[in-house]
Symmetry: C2
Amino acid sequence: MMKSMPSTPRPSTQETIAHLKEVPLFSGCSTELLSRLGSVARLSKVPKGKVLYQKEEQASWLYIIRHGWVKLYQETLSGEEAVIDILTDGHMFGEGALFHNGTYTHHAQVVEDAELLLLPFALLKEQIQKESSLALAMLAALSAQHRRQEREIEHLAVQTAPQRIGCFLLKLCTGNEKDIVLHLPYDKTLLAARLGMKPETFSRALNTLRKETGISVSGASITIGDIQRLSDFSCSACSSTFPCEE
Amino acid sequence: MMKSMPSTPRPSTQETIAHLKEVPLFSGCSTELLSRLGSVARLSKVPKGKVLYQKEEQASWLYIIRHGWVKLYQETLSGEEAVIDILTDGHMFGEGALFHNGTYTHHAQVVEDAELLLLPFALLKEQIQKESSLALAMLAALSAQHRRQEREIEHLAVQTAPQRIGCFLLKLCTGNEKDIVLHLPYDKTLLAARLGMKPETFSRALNTLRKETGISVSGASITIGDIQRLSDFSCSACSSTFPCEE
């Protein structure tokens, strides 16, 4: 049975198809397939804090983020939470269940108010088996995720804690201008967990980063005066240069 | 042009097909497709130390390990090596190039003498587009890799250094008997890098693990007297229990 989700008034199929077309996963699909998916997809506004699914739960939906932030996590046997990823606009999640007995492989929770596109899992599974264009698009999407994870493992292996924070900030920068003011997208405790640090390590590392790169920190606001200095400091311990492909 | 590889005398197509059938990726493929792949696949014995490919190089082969160990790695801008993964029997690599302009996404080097099954990249790409059974099998294989990487990120985020070593040793244990003697499959410096540690951290962590779990260490040999004690210690900071699914 499909789990109910708090959902906004149902958009028209045309509107949903337009949303689907924006997602790289569906950009190469036929109009016919898009119509079939568009007629059953849901658009849902989900408030911060909502747990979308639990690990091992039978999968009802595949999710695509239109706006907002979603945390994927595991719980260890001793009860600690391990943050695997925090995703935002354009990212897909829940697809792991396609090849894992139809059950989700981790927990998922909305960490900042989100607008999500939901596709019924059973239909999607059926269509992937029928439509090779969708299977190939899904392969490309999984392959991109794989590269993202490889980069993540690389960072956890060789970057220092201040460099990992610097790298995270650089990914939030869209331009190259002077005096960029950023607002951290979610709270610092969660950010520390996302970067694989204890909160006290995070505070010390942020302080080191401030001294080394001249950024200034005021609550959740961070001002980057010299983006070159920040990227020189952070990207020296990475195989990619700023701005990186992600 | 395909890059030449040191290769053993060409096995018969029937022999190669038999090898392909052992690989989960090809287990669901038609006899016709297996014959097509089997007639062009190569079996290659590759000595320790050989670099198989460099990052950004045009992909010639997709690799499957029959025996041995292969390291995937990146080089950071400051020249440090970041070990992303060390793979063994049954693992596939090089497939990232399928969706990355046909170029490899990392470097690969044989770290212990290996026997590899090589499939011509161009043919494989063509067949994935034609044969939905192969596209689906590739999706399942990528999805399994994705879960392995999620577990890796979880470990790097929450396990202590001694727990990470304990977890690595547990994966080498095949049974539950008493006094298991293991031989580390590759040298300790590489193992440290694989686990995201500096060599000196690795030595301290191995010492802590010895005290906490009663294992004994002599060069590359490790004796586990009480596997339950080792798994209690290591798996408490993991979302899975011993023996885990991988």
